[in-house]
Symmetry: C4
Subunit: 228 residues, 4 copies
């Protein structure tokens, strides 16, 4: 895929963020790895204003290589993750409401749904508080997600980062983490109101579900789900 | 209805799943009974990508008869239900959020609304935990729903299955179960927050409401509601 | 307005029900008073299928005068209200989720928002449980709303009825009752979770707000808000 | 920007209110400062009916200068704020549900999200109860927001007012206050149901986040975010 195509794809993926209720106004961003750098949303631009051409190219130290606008203020975080995790090809950041509510309590999202076992292979982990703008968030993302089955992390008092082989895979994880964050939230509310318990899934069942989902589910000839 | 028409109808019904907020990304599926087999969604394909032609035909042992893609990983469950319940012509599976939250607590949804008495004739039952991919879920669906008035079951830690004479009737049940799961959820939250009780409906009133709805409501000349 | 225009208007108003999230599948209906009768939605028809021509004319004993379809199974209720309350020109019935959750607890919605004082002049009252299909619901609506400032009532374990001089005014009340039912629900949840109280508004302030809203607010030359 | 352009812009901004779920039926309004006056929504008109030409010009005592319709019944409040706070160029008023639920408890929204530190620089303050129609609400808005970092205030038992250098900036604050009101609501619900705490952010971190957001975030050459 050349740069023109990648800009068009990254633009199209950004439009999925408001369509899926993951972002408000200008918050949230997606990046794609390039040779020796990354392509990312410009800072403080609304999703309706975004164009393929407005995306910014930086190197892996977050220095602008190409683009008239300033890159996302989370660029140093994205760059750090790409430097430390060569398997990552796309990153998504949102403040999606249910996942961010979990992050506000500083608690991981427990794996109590088969859909979570499928997609995340266990709980969605919660990283510590880190300031915005530098590499601290990136360091927390890498510390927690490196070698972890989950492609998603929630960050205390802040929001969500997801990673994937491609920007699309990271977007899928961002959509799914909000979906399960909501359902698990509802389950705990219901349990508390009715004096019952949220049922757990055994670690062995979680392993079996995750293995099936990552080895059998879907179309084996289509490893990359196309853009929705 | 020939196969071409059935593929078109099943495709149209699948698009109702995201429109009604019942599914996320590729989750959820609908099947229709065919002579000696079934027609079902392909596995891991987003709703925007689906076409009438991409639907897969299998026999009632879940073996592919026609189609280039792998069928839904829930196909063995659908096939099992069609084998055991000859009256079923359509099946819907979702992880719709409110119904799945009830499933996460392993509790049936109590029949505390006239709309539930109408459509489900009592509580929406909750089946036990079962692994995904084989016939175990199908066995649980049949064990609980055979002879039951409810066309819907929630499965512990997993989601929803609904059945009907047609795929459309099963879809209606899937839409209605999420609707009542949400309202009853809200009622229990409100009762807990305000120290009051959710009001019950007597079994005799539930019977009367269900009888009226299934015998008087609607257009008697139009037993099958057309596609919305 | 002649019958053709009234059918077109009633059809357009019905489409506002799903647009405002007040109904699911075929539930909910609106009627308009005619000379010596009423015009109402046919039973068990989805909102996408409705047409101006499909609306049914009945007399005030709910006997069909004109129309090929069976009228709403709530027609006897509508007819009863029109017989008993000559000031009513339109009626709306929904199972909108937040208002119905209040109804499931059998509790009125307390008047704790200025918007409630404006529109309802106090709490939204809750009527008792009544069977569906006959005049019992109508009798409960009339018993509670006759001489009451609120154009809306919630009915235990069931849903919402609203009345107005016109079908549009009743629709507005149906939209507003769900809106305030949601906000007041959220307020009580918040108060319970944080150990604080929902603030009350004094009866004198409620009276002042309601008087201003019904005498000063809006365009005095436009008593009837046009269709949204 | 001449009056024709300002009317068109104010009309376009009003349409963002229902699009973002902040208003119901005719509630909510936006104004823009003019030389010696203000431009504001007419009273009791639905958003679908609004046109650029229907906006009303008043002086800073809320007396109509230009326009066939009565201005919003909140005009005296808007006028008071413009008189007392010369830095304000736009004002938005809504009853958005989550923020209004906080207002119903009479409690400020605690600053427990980095997005709140960014946009509001601390908690969103809650003003006292004030009658509608006169200047009392305006006085409460000015008393609380003058010299405050937050561009948003919630008013007890009522709703939200936001201010900005432009109507667009005030609209952004209205969108963001509902977004954070929802996420913080969810966080407290989750904490209460699970017996954990919502994590706080230190005052020093809030200061750092707010300084970065107001000095570094976004495009420095584009101080005014264009209309979304």
């Amino acid at each position: 895929m050349n740069h023109t195509e990648l800009r068009a794809e990254l633009h199209a993926l950004h439009l999925e963020l408001p369509r899926n209720g993951l972002v408000t106004w200008t918050s949230g961003n997606i990046s794609a790895r390039l040779d020796g750098g990354l392509l990312i949303k410009p800072s403080g631009v609304t999703f309706a204003e975004l164009t393929p051409e407005s995306m910014v190219v930086t190197d892996l130290n977050a220095q602008v290589i190409e683009g008239d606008l300033s890159p996302s203020s989370d660029t140093a975080t994205h760059a750090y993750v790409y430097r430390q995790m060569p398997e990552v090809g796309g990153i998504v950041h949102t403040h999606s409401p249910y996942a961010t509510a979990w992050a506000a309590t500083g608690q991981e999202i427990p794996c109590v749904l088969t859909a979570m076992a499928d997609e995340f292979g266990g709980p969605v982990p919660c990283g510590g508080f880190a300031p915005i703008g530098g590499e601290e968030i990136g360091a927390e993302v890498v510390r927690v997600l490196k070698g972890h089955r989950s492609p998603a992390i929630i960050l205390q008092s802040h929001g969500v980062f997801t990673i994937g082989k491609t920007p699309l895979a990271a977007l899928k994880a961002a959509v799914m983490v909000e979906d399960v964050a909501r359902t698990v939230f509802l389950a705990y509310q219901l349990a508390a109101a009715r004096g019952v318990e949220v049922q757990t899934i055994s670690p062995a069942d979680i392993d079996r579900l995750h293995h099936r989902y990552t080895h059998v589910y879907g179309q084996q000839q289509h490893q990359e789900t196309p853009c929705p």
